[in-house]
Amino acid sequence: MAVSRIRRWRPTTPVITAVLLAAMPLIFISDFARAIQLRFCVMLLLLTGLNFINGYARMSSLAQAGFYGLGAYTAGILAARLDVPPALAFVAAPVLATVAALVIGAASLRLRATYFTMATLGAGYILYILFGRMTGVTGGPNGLLGIPALSVAGIEISGPLPMYVLAAVLALLGVVVAYNFERSRAGRALRALGASEPAAVASGVRAFRLRLFAFALSGCYAGVAGALETFDATFVSPSSFGFLTAVLCVVGLTVGGAGRAAGPLIGAALLTALDELGTEYAGYEMLIVGLVFLVVVQAFPGGVAGAAGARWPRRGARPAVARATEGSAS
């Protein structure tokens, strides 16, 4: 670890995120801007989580929308139907989403990359169908109503600004954890695994366990994002957790830069901007999404972050395999 000690200060992703999250509400101050900013935080959590599995481990998951929905419904059902204290419901959401990710991951992570993708697609879709069909539990196609305001220790967190602060703190925490994970031994091993499985396995990386860990993390982040969305909208509807959302998560991360610390940040910004674009240019935005994605996937596999990073290479960048060996030997 001593090798990578920071000698010269440079802006890292958590610092940029912190400045951004702090500056946004100062520059754009309407309540609506808060809502957009909160949505940005939710997206950031979703994509940061997805980055563990799609980015570092290079196994494309299409289950992120399902875990997001699971988090949202867990929080919503516990708080609205079972009278669980909202704060506890909020915490339960990522727990259940993580458990779901562990179960689905345990069954599907031994598959080859493409088949893993299809397994996560299937699992996500089944979750989506359950959200809409289990009317007695989830409220069915019309959604779940009557979600109380979030309160912690008697202090109510509701309204645009408090919700935004909560979302910003959680999103930042998520980014910081991801940033430190990327630099940890497990993080480096995971990236080595994504770069070249045989090389990583040869240097002692336990592929399956590491991937499962990454997948569980992605579920956990999606659970937090879901709980935030639920308590912000005080409403949960199955329409937000379908195949399109799953695809948009992958699109956002890929265009932003999968496997890069800055990728989720850029991707979340793009997806939030897309929401805005969609309100003005209905119908055209998906055409643009499809075409941009098509080009980026092939021409800029590192996404925007990768294209930018190619011009300013990371200091002391070495092959991932070499880093992994180093990590496991130390």
Binding site: A195, S196, R318, P319, V321, A322
Partner: protein, 242 residues
């Protein structure tokens, strides 16, 4: 016919970020057998894959018959008459032997039933004749090697590149393969032979290069290299001990 059929200048190839071949230069002369010797992991196969465009090289120049093919896709080299017998044979397991051989004619004819050169290949490898209708996957290792060479010959190549044709075969089959290769040399084929088995290769070759950890360590006429102390020590000596 002693002009350069293939010329490689300062070729660098990497696996991801890890460079494996560090600026290799060599040439293969028309009508001759040129041999690229090297131990396991010396970068032989990577060199070949780089020059064929199967792996994009970092830098370097490759010319075939005077044409610069450095940035050419692999199929364009095939159309220039370069045939490749890959490491590990890689015959199409689910295709019949006959279809495997026909696959070699793709650059010569668009007609499927014509099979030009089939007689010539079956003459070189009569062992394949009774197996024509069998799936290539059920052949023995030696037969698969003959099929892979035969598939390459079907294109009537101007340059035949063989990557370790002796790998994994019994000594008896190895000598059978090398007997066939000698026949091809005598027919005037230009051959680039990549081998670990130095003794056999040097006996067959006109000229040889020794590749060590991605560099050309030594080169010269095959007869001289057999006598070289270095080759004696690394390849021949050690083989006799084992």
């Amino acid at each position: 016919m002693t002009d350069s059929a293939l010329s490689v200048r300062d070729l660098r190839v990497a696996h991801g970020r890890l460079e494996v071949v560090h600026g290799v230069s060599f040439e293969a002369r028309g009508g001759q057998v040129t041999c690229l010797l090297g131990t396991n992991g010396a970068g032989k196969t990577t060199t070949i894959r780089g020059l064929l465009g199967l792996q994009t090289p970092r830098s370097g120049t490759v010319t075939v018959g005077g044409t610069d093919v450095s940035r050419h896709a692999p199929h364009r080299l095939a159309r220039l008459g370069v045939a490749h017998v890959p490491e590990g044979r890689r015959v199409f397991a689910n295709l019949s032997v006959r279809d495997n051989l026909r696959m070699g004619t793709l650059t010569r004819t668009r007609r499927w039933r014509e099979e030009p050169g089939l007689d010539h290949v079956l003459h070189t490898f009569p062992e394949l004749t009774p197996k024509l209708k069998d799936a290539a996957g059920v052949l023995s290792g030696g037969q698969q090697q003959m099929l892979a060479i035969g598939r390459a010959l079907m294109s009537r190549p101007t340059l035949l590149i063989l990557d370790e044709p002796s790998m994994g075969l019994s000594p008896k089959l190895v000598s059978r393969i090398y007997q066939a290769l000698a026949g091809l040399r005598d027919d005037g084929h230009t051959i680039l032979l990549v081998e670990q088995n130095a003794r056999l290769a040097l006996e067959l070759a006109d000229h040889a290069y020794v590749l060590e950890t991605g560099h050309i360590a030594e080169s010269g006429p095959a007869g001289e290299l057999i006598a070289s102390a270095r080759v004696q020590e690394i390849y021949l000596g050690s083989q006799e001990e084992s």
